[in-house]
């Protein structure tokens, strides 16, 4: 593999990582602060993608599509929190898994009713349709935009959580919700705000993924599982962990798929390599996660509570 191609794959891995970060950031807070497993996060991503595709198809304006996607996913997230999850916070994880599993079935089918079973495709917005030359290597501008947007969100999240009052409340709620609430803070409101913001980020990820992936029912589940891998690998409840975890998972997955089959061909017999290479590449991130958890059950960057 030439170094230019390798570099392109590196960027692809980075781009997947950034996308995963958008999804993990919200989910890791819900997991860490409310101690609640929310499997519908992938469905919110799917909703974002669908609404973006529908509005973009109607209006032709990517900005409008983006606004609609963010609004729709955060509204859906808030509704899910209000109607279902709030009643499950105090119950065992088992019921959270089951309740949100039911919601996934429901939302997937609802999407099928509204938009049909066949995938939707939307184009990249004209302004970002070209390529950017990077050290003489053409790379799609839209993927660059994803990376830039994700990094901007990461910086913004860092500032909000470490430099603002609401961020302080979120951190405080994560370490001792009861104490914060007895100091007169409406912790339910903080929780809802975190949930809504996380849902909006999931919608943003859906919006950005829509032009490069096909938009179809059930598109949320594979990415949900990747997101869970990121969160557990990085350390539950930690934004920093979600960031590094997302980049690691994105890189390992992309580079594994690109390099492993070739590498296997050099090491083992051709027929075996052809059979085992792609399978091993798909398994790589799960191997990574199992290895991390076996050695450090808290994840790579656990939250340090005082």
């Amino acid at each position: 593999m030439s170094s230019a191609l390798f570099f392109a794959q590196l960027l692809n891995g980075f781009q997947l990582g950034v996308l995963l970060f958008l999804l993990s950031a919200g989910l890791t807070l819900v997991l860490g602060i409310m101690n609640c497993i929310n499997l519908t996060h992938g469905s919110l991503y799917m909703l974002g993608a669908y609404v973006a595709a529908a509005v973009y198809g109607q209006s032709g304006s990517f900005v409008l599509a983006g606004l609609a996607a963010l609004l729709a996913s955060s509204a859906a997230g808030l509704a899910i929190e209000r109607i279902v999850l709030r009643r499950l916070y105090s119950r065992d994880h088992l019921y959270q898994v089951l309740g949100t599993f039911g919601l996934i079935l429901f939302i997937n089918e609802a999407v099928r009713i509204v938009w049909g079973s066949s995938p939707l495709f939307i184009g990249v917005p004209d302004a970002l349709a070209g390529t950017i030359s990077l050290f003489g290597l053409p790379y799609p501008a839209y993927r660059f935009a994803i990376i830039a947007c994700g990094l901007a969100v990461a910086v913004g999240l860092y500032l909000v959580i470490h430099r603002t009052r609401i961020g302080m409340l979120i951190r405080a709620g994560a370490s001792d919700a009861e104490m914060v609430s007895s100091l007169g803070v409406d912790i339910a409101l903080v929780n809802a705000a975190v949930f809504g913001a996380g849902a909006a980020l999931a919608g943003l990820a859906g919006l950005m993924a829509a032009p490069i992936l096909s938009v179809q029912p059930g598109m949320g589940e594979p990415i949900l599982i990747l997101t869970l891998v990121v969160i557990v690998t990085g350390g539950i409840g930690s934004i920093r962990g979600a960031f590094y975890g997302a980049l690691i998972v994105g890189m390992v997955d992309t580079l594994g798929r690109a390099l492993l089959p070739g590498l296997m061909r050099e090491l083992v017999e051709r027929s075996l390599a052809q059979a085992a290479g792609p399978a091993l590449a798909s398994m790589l991130i799960y191997l990574l996660m199992a290895a991390v958890l076996a050695v450090r059950p808290q994840g790579l960057f656990p939250v340090k509570h005082a």
Partner: protein, 336 residues
């Protein structure tokens, strides 16, 4: 951490007699399905209830760790897959001896569950849920990558396992074999959860620190429970492969693990028979919702036919929110 439901001693029981009657009713009904299927000339019921009992068996196995041990495994579909592929791969090489299938399947399941259990039990809570899911996903992608054994498309199995004089090609014989395995497992589990082993397991669920203080090393007990529960799922997988004459990566999909959990919670964690009842309710709901003609107006019938998953999802959510002991526990609950 909230206190988990599912401890038999805490589950509200009307009387032991009511429990016994309910259990006999469930078992009796299952035993009589073939009679009804032949009388009513509904041979498809035989397959449907064979599937119900197989998933009931798998859910029963999972319930040993999930309900009695409070280890929420989100990856037990892995063991269904091991069982199914043990039958499928051996058959693909022309070995259709059932005892060989059984030996290889259980040995593979034992090795896998010992290794995976040892790694997974280092973690707890959410991490345990996720790491069990990770191992099931690995196995899923491994099966997809096994191009020589069907890969993504799955592996058709030419003939059913042969067990000496037992003719499994006869659907009725297969039905009663599954029935016998289910009853035997139920009885074994009944003995198991009421034995010293079961007490330690339940104790390490409700208060691991006290168990440690009492001098019990809980890990071996939890590992043993994990292995036993995995082996029951391997058995279920082998029966499933025999029933469908097919081994497929789809058996190992994460949604199968989710469905097993749904069946258990639907039926009720606090009882031995709950998972079996839950499996029956789940699969019957699927069957009824996807094929029933209720004669609803305004095209709602077609809508339900095409989009029954919508209703199934809603029912799951409502059951999660509403019933804390599951359907079976709710039926047996004393009314005030």
């Amino acid at each position: 951490m909230p206190i988990v439901q599912g401890d038999a001693s805490a589950a509200p029981v009307r009387t032991p007699a009511a429990r016994l009657v309910a259990a006999c009713l469930v078992v009796g009904l299952l035993a009589l399905v073939p009679v009804y299927a032949s009388l009513g000339a509904q041979p498809s019921y035989l397959t449907l209830f064979s599937r119900i009992m197989i998933y009931g068996l798998a859910a029963l196995g999972l319930n040993l760790v999930l309900g009695w041990g409070a280890m929420v495994s989100f990856g037990h579909s892995l063991y269904i897959g091991i069982g199914a592929y043990a039958v499928g791969m051996l058959s693909a090489h022309g070995i259709d001896n059932g005892f060989a299938h059984l030996g290889v399947g259980l040995a593979a399941g034992l090795a896998a569950s010992l290794l995976i259990g040892l790694i997974c039990l280092r973690t707890g809570g959410i991490a345990f849920i996720m790491i069990t899911l990770a191992f099931a996903q690995m196995a899923y992608f491994l099966a997809v990558g096994l191009k020589n054994y069907g890969g993504d498309d799955g592996l058709p199995i030419a003939g059913r396992s042969t067990f000496g004089p037992l003719d499994l090609d006869n659907n009725l014989v297969l039905y009663y074999l599954i029935f016998a395995v289910l009853i035997a497992t139920l009885y074994a589990f009944h003995r198991l959860v009421h034995s010293r082993f079961g007490m330690v397991l339940r104790g390490s669920k409700s208060n691991p620190r006290r168990m440690a203080a009492l001098g019990f090393a809980t890990l071996p007990y939890q590992l043993a429970a994990y292995v036993v529960s995995a082996l029951v799922c391997v058995l279920a997988g082998m029966l499933l492969a025999n029933l469908t004459s097919f081994a497929s990566p789809a058996y190992m999909q994460w949604s199968v693990s989710g469905e097993l959990i749904a069946m258990i919670v639907l039926g009720g964690l606090g009882s031995l028979l709950g998972p079996v009842v839950g499996a029956a309710v789940w699969l019957l709901l699927e069957e009824v919702l996807s094929s029933a003609r209720l004669g609803l107006p305004w095209g709602l019938d077609d809508m339900l036919h095409d989009h029954w998953m919508l209703l199934l999802g809603a029912i799951v959510v409502l059951v999660t929110l509403g019933l804390k002991q599951g359907l079976y526990g709710w039926l047996l609950e004393p009314r005030k």
